[in-house]
């Protein structure tokens, strides 16, 4: 395995040969690097399904200004080096016009410098703000962590919680989260009294939850993705911790509900509107796009899409719209993505600016709870 990894890295292409299909004819290549196997599988699999479905739709409808899409999907095995390797391959060998991915923060961060060096736009489907911070070429379609934290902190402040404990994913997704809570929660006098970490592929959570219980917090935040987030939720309930539990936007899929089971009842999570689409008011700007996407996805795969499928929808659709408008010239394409304004997607209404390459505010999020295996919209607290 190590040998393979090394030889893969050594396979670099001369810098003069900078990737990017500036050509104006033939199929348009869209590359995607997803966490299809490994710890991020519950994100990457629905994302792949979404991309394949949408590419088929666009091609069936005549493609982008008459040009068909060639979709190239690579599995990064949920690793940073896998993501870097896959991104290099797509950019340098395949010369894709735009790069989507990765599913999680760590691999996305590994792809960022490669896309920047190739000067090809990239749209990550992951959450952490670091992915796009200060970047010219990189955008993302998932809500910023900070926006999610603002939403959770608002809810905590309204309910009068002050001391919170955090159990976070030890990989890139959870990196810097406690610091952000401290920062965002300062005004509401919210203190982080205990921080526990878990590996994304961990299976035993007693140790973390014992320490959380010992800290006697007013509320607990579990920040991870399933199955780890589900196992943490189960361990939390098992230890009989009474404090309310908040989960992140990392749990927005059926896998979480299936694996957490009854222990998920009553949790609070800050999530996009898609999961509670059936409970949205009819005049909600996202209503139409979300309802259509759920219908298409169910028809194609026989199950409801997850929020991650939604991130893939947003990333892909933003890319396609920009390609329609600007063609495949990397600079024009980049400008077109940065120009997205007031566009209703699955995760929220996007408005990109040169300073904000993620395009979503906390209005994109709602508080959701779980009631007997179903997502339920919670009216805003306070």
């Amino acid at each position: 395995m190590a040998v393979l990894a090394l030889s893969g890295c050594a396979e670099s292409v001369s810098p003069a040969d900078k990737g990017g299909g500036g050509s104006t004819e033939g199929p348009i290549k869209i590359g995607a690097v997803l966490d299809i196997t490994g710890a991020g599988a519950s994100l990457g699999v629905p994302e792949r399904q979404t991309l394949e479905m949408l590419a088929k739709q666009v091609n069936a409808a005549g493609g982008i200004n008459g040009r068909q899409i060639t979709l190239l999907i690579e599995d990064n095995q949920s690793t940073e080096d896998g993501a870097a390797r896959a991104a290099s391959k797509l950019l340098q060998t395949e010369k894709v016009s735009i790069l989507l991915g990765a599913s999680r923060t760590g691999p996305s961060l590994a792809m960022r410098p490669i896309a920047e060096q190739a000067k090809i736009p990239m749209i990550s489907l992951a959450a952490n703000e670091k992915i796009v911070h200060g970047s010219k070429w990189v955008f993302k379609s998932a809500q910023n962590d900070k926006v999610v934290i603002e939403n959770i902190v608002d809810d905590m402040a309204a309910k009068g919680y002050h001391n919170i404990a955090i159990a976070r994913d030890a990989s890139g997704f959870g990196e810097g989260i406690p610091e952000m809570f401290t920062d965002v929660g300062k005004a509401a006098k919210i203190n982080v009294v205990s921080v526990e970490k878990f590996a994304p592929d961990a299976t035993l959570f007693t140790a973390q939850m014992v320490n959380v219980r010992k800290a006697k917090p007013d509320a607990v935040v579990i920040w991870g993705i399933p199955p780890a987030a589900s196992l943490a939720q189960v361990a939390y309930r098992q230890l009989g911790i009474k404090a309310p539990v908040y989960q992140s936007h990392g749990i927005g899929n059926q896998v979480f509900l299936d694996t957490a089971g009854a222990s998920a009842n009553g949790l609070l999570a800050s999530l996009g509107r898609m999961l509670v689409a059936d409970q949205l008011p009819a005049n909600d700007p996202q209503n139409k796009v979300v309802t259509q996407f759920i219908k298409d996805y169910k028809a194609a795969y026989g199950q409801s899409p997850s929020t991650f499928a939604g991130h893939a929808y947003d990333g892909f659709t933003i890319a396609v719209n920009a390609l329609k408008q600007a063609g495949t010239d990397p600079n024009k394409l980049r400008d077109a993505i940065e120009g997205v304004s007031n566009w209703p997607g699955i995760s929220g209404v996007f408005t990109m600016t040169p300073e904000d390459h993620s395009g979503l505010t906390k209005d994109a999020l709602v508080m959701v709870t779980v009631d007997n295996g179903k997502w339920k919209l919670v009216p805003a607290a306070g």
């Binding site: 590996a199 014992v210 199955p227 230890l239």
Partner: protein, 289 residues
């Protein structure tokens, strides 16, 4: 205090699963010097197969009972196809060979079941709280079933004629053959036993620790470390080594840092190999098992 007990208890349950995997390593190595790195894959295969059966509507008990012989058959089949044809088997060759088998099994499981981790429904029973320690009924099932299976395997290897004959193959292969014991047959049975304990480990653990295509390698490595505590030849030490490792991991995770949990096993392995490569309890010349 209840925190300490909580950590120890949930560590014991996890450790029992390691112990069963360790038993599988020793069950083979005590008969023939083969290190079977595919040991953890039996657990993953058993868990995933049982989940499929349950999803298809088979009740839990028949699903579990059906899966065990199936995994035993897979283990024996692998031995027949990949181990038996090799004339001059060395430990190094066996490691390379079984690593290949492990990779192939993982790829097949990924193709069949896809990448997502899932868990079996918990076995019947109610969770209890005892002296401030929250105990899941599944953890009691793990400990109980591991104890019964562990004792049965130890008894079979130490007290039955077949077990003694199998161990004789390891100590004196030529003499064993002269008195009519077939080393080929013994190896095949040993793989069957390894498949059996691996399947049990995968099934009892699945409701808590989940099963996925890539879960076997990590589990196998932990089991291997536990087995080295007994010099790869002591069944009893392998079982207790598993328990010890499980508890140690949980204590390190609870009191030092969860990030070090997976390092514990390999620190233990380094220590054992540096200080007592023959295992914790045996003298270098002591009898196997």
């Amino acid at each position: 205090m209840s925190d300490l007990l909580q950590l120890v208890f949930s560590g014991l349950a996890q450790g029992a699963v390691y112990g069963l995997i360790a038993l599988g390593f020793v069950a083979i190595f005590a008969v023939r010097e083969i290190v079977n790195l595919a040991q953890g894959e039996y657990a993953a295969l058993a868990g995933l197969s049982a989940i499929s059966a349950v999803t298809a509507g088979v009740p839990l008990l028949p699903a579990v009972v059906l899966v065990v012989p199936m995994v035993v058959m897979v283990a024996v089949l692998i031995e027949r196809l990949c181990i038996a044809p090799i004339r001059k088997m060395t430990p190094l060759l066996s490691i390379i060979l079984t690593l290949g088998i492990s990779t192939a099994l993982k790829a097949i499981m990924l193709l069949i079941w896809g990448p997502q981790a899932r868990g079996l429904p918990a076995f019947p029973g109610r969770d209890i709280v005892l002296a401030g320690v929250s105990i899941r009924s599944q953890e009691l099932w793990i400990l109980g079933i591991s104890a019964v299976v562990g004792a049965a395997v130890v008894w079979a290897y130490e007290h039955t004629l077949l077990g003694k004959a199998m161990r004789a193959c390891a100590e004196q292969p030529v003499a064993a053959r002269l008195v009519g014991i077939s080393p080929r047959m013994a190896t095949m049975i040993a793989f069957g036993v390894a498949g059996f304990v691996g399947a049990v480990a995968g099934l009892v653990g699945s409701p808590i620790y989940f099963s996925s295509w890539d879960y076997g390698l990590g589990l196998g490595l932990k089991g291997f470390v536990a087995a080295t505590l007994g010099g790869l030849v002591s069944l009893r030490v392998a079982l207790f080594g598993g328990l010890l490792l499980g508890v140690l991991e949980n204590l390190v995770a609870g009191y030092i840092d969860t990030g070090y949990r997976d390092a514990v096993a390999f620190l233990v392995l380094l220590l054992v190999l540096l200080v007592r490569p023959q295992g914790l309890v045996l003298k270098a010349s002591a009898a196997r098992v």
